[in-house]
């Protein structure tokens, strides 16, 4: 792990201009190593999506710089795949059509795209559902398609924005296990946004804890136990207590701030 995969250097983000501008992100520094699974943990509205979308190249930081493999990130690229909480599947395409989309756009040809898509659909456990349309699928299955669609592009970095946030807790647990399995096969670099402490402990190599808006990094905590982790082990329970306290402290200190004093930009 000589050179970090992703480097965020002093990035901030303001939405809007002038007195009405909203500061979404404080100066934010982060090094992500190649093959590392990073969870970004923070209360909603703290700027997690904003950060992830900047790494995806969909929006630009107001100040600071973002690098991948030492190169500045300028715009979206298939090497940084994004999985959305809302799935964002193409409703007019079948499961197969959705997963083939990336390879087709890369002009790999229909046959190659078909092979790649079939393989990824099998990997996420959706064999037999190739010709279904998204509206015919359950939430968990939709997100499996979302993950397969991104993996078919063979990205180097996987960006996941609360991908399981809309799922029931049982489905969510299964999805976490399966995602971990997929990750252990390829060891892609992952940036995974969540507001669930348990999810972060189960998945991450390191957990980045953020403060409420304007988001800044409160602490970065390494998760040592070997995978698959037992969340009921004493180590995990201790970690969970530590993280929960950290997150709650942040939220409490933010909500004790006077309501009429939002964090506006200077």
């Amino acid at each position: 792990m000589a050179e970090p995969k992703i480097v965020a250097h002093g990035i901030t983000k303001y939405f809007g201009v002038g007195a009405g501008a909203v500061k979404a992100l404080e100066p934010f520094d982060l090094f992500v190593n190649t093959g590392e699974f990073i969870c970004i943990l923070g209360p909603s509205g703290c700027g997690k999506s904003t950060f992830l979308r900047m790494v995806a190249g969909l929006i630009e930081p107001s100040t600071g710089s973002l690098f991948m493999d030492g190169q500045p990130i300028a715009g979206p690229h298939r090497e940084r795949g994004l999985v959305f909480q809302e799935y964002a599947l193409f409703p007019w395409k079948t499961v197969l059509g959705n997963v083939m989309y990336g390879p087709l756009v890369q002009r790999l040809g229909r046959r190659k795209a078909h092979d790649i898509a079939t393989e990824q659909i099998n990997r996420v456990g959706l064999k037999g559902f190739e010709s279904r349309f998204p509206r015919e699928l359950s939430g968990g299955m939709k997100q499996r398609v979302g993950i397969a669609r991104v993996l078919a592009n063979q990205p180097e970095v996987l960006l996941m924005d609360e991908p399981f946030g809309a799922l029931d807790s049982i489905t969510r647990g299964i999805m976490q296990q399966d995602l971990l399995k997929l990750w252990l096969e390829e060891r892609k670099t992952v940036l995974f946004v969540t507001h669930s402490v348990e999810e972060a402990i189960y998945l991450a190599d390191r957990i980045v804890v953020m403060s409420p808006r304007p988001g800044r990094i409160v602490s970065i905590i390494a998760v040592e136990p070997a995978r698959p982790r037992n969340l009921l082990s004493s180590e995990c329970i201790a970690l969970r207590a530590q993280l929960t306290r950290l997150v709650e402290e942040q939220v409490v200190s933010a909500s004790s701030r006077p309501m009429n004093m939002p964090a506006y930009a200077d």
Partner: protein
């Protein structure tokens, strides 16, 4: 993969114990009102409550219908109307869909055309008849012009809104998957806007019949509209009624065809099916 088992391929077969009776019952419910209306109308005519020159009886209308059927005027007029309708609608779709995409996608172009459309769109199709005749004379051309104009307005408006309000999340997904900016229109915008485009096409088709009938009444010497108009001048109220029914049947038939096409093209879409029966 527990959640994968949520929906197994293929729905279970519906139990069909009361299927036959339900079909008959449904048929009765659908048929009751038309039969009652026609029966009452015939009865009213027979008993002299309805004056013949105001409203001929259904049977008289049937006689009128068989008369024009035999002497060939029905076929001539129907064919003239169908040709005008199809060509006018095709022209409208070919112009209004691309134009709607353009106005929906390019904000500058939308602003550029905004005031013009704001002024032109509310002019009802009937108000265009004089200028249509002035420009195209009596006959096919002015009728096609009015059909096209009647169809174009809803197509344009709906296409424009469909493109303008495309959910940004599809564009973001497409871009992170490596879509080049110039491919977005074809690969993403168009399919996302397709349900709206089809809504526009269907409304446009419905609207176009008004244009056709007015154009044929005033600006043509053939077609179902001409049939209705001519029947009034000739005091043939039976043919007048026949003509009106024909317009209704044509409109209904074309609407059903459009609904079928749209249902097939949009089979991925959630609201496929609708409430129209």
């Amino acid at each position: 993969m527990a959640d994968v088992a949520v929906k197994s391929p293929g729905p279970p077969a519906k139990p069909s114990s009361h299927g036959g009776r339900k079909v008959i019952l449904n048929f009765l419910v659908y048929a009751a009102l038309p039969v009652l209306l026609l029966g009452g109308w015939q009865l009213g005519s027979d008993c002299g409550y309805i004056q013949d020159y105001l409203l001929p009886s259904p049977l008289a209308a049937v006689h009128g219908f068989s008369e024009v059927l035999r002497d060939g005027t029905l076929a001539t007029n129907l064919w003239a109307s169908v040709v005008r309708s199809v060509s006018g609608f095709a022209i409208a779709a070919a112009i209004a869909v691309p134009f709607g995409i353009l106005t929906g996608w390019f904000r500058l172009f939308r602003k550029f055309t905004y005031v013009t459309l704001l002024l032109l769109v509310p002019i009802p199709i009937t108000a265009w008849i004089s200028i249509a005749i002035l420009w195209f004379g009596l006959g096919d051309k002015s009728a096609i012009f009015l059909v096209a104009l009647g169809a174009a307005v809803p197509i344009l408006i709906n296409t424009m809104h469909g493109v303008e309000w495309v959910d940004k999340i599809y564009i973001e997904a497409a871009r992170t998957l490596g879509t080049r900016p110039h491919e977005l229109l074809w690969r993403i915008i168009l399919p996302v806007a397709l349900p709206n485009i089809f809504t526009g096409l269907r409304l446009g088709l419905r609207n176009s019949w008004a244009g056709l009938v007015v154009a044929e009444m005033i600006g043509a010497k053939s077609g179902v509209g001409y049939m209705i108009w001519d029947a009034r001048l000739m005091m043939r109220s039976d043919l007048l009624i026949t003509g009106m029914f024909l317009v209704g049947i044509l409109g209904s038939l074309s609407d059903q065809i459009m609904a079928l096409v749209s249902k097939h093209v949009l089979r991925w879409h959630e609201s496929v099916g609708g409430h129209d029966g």
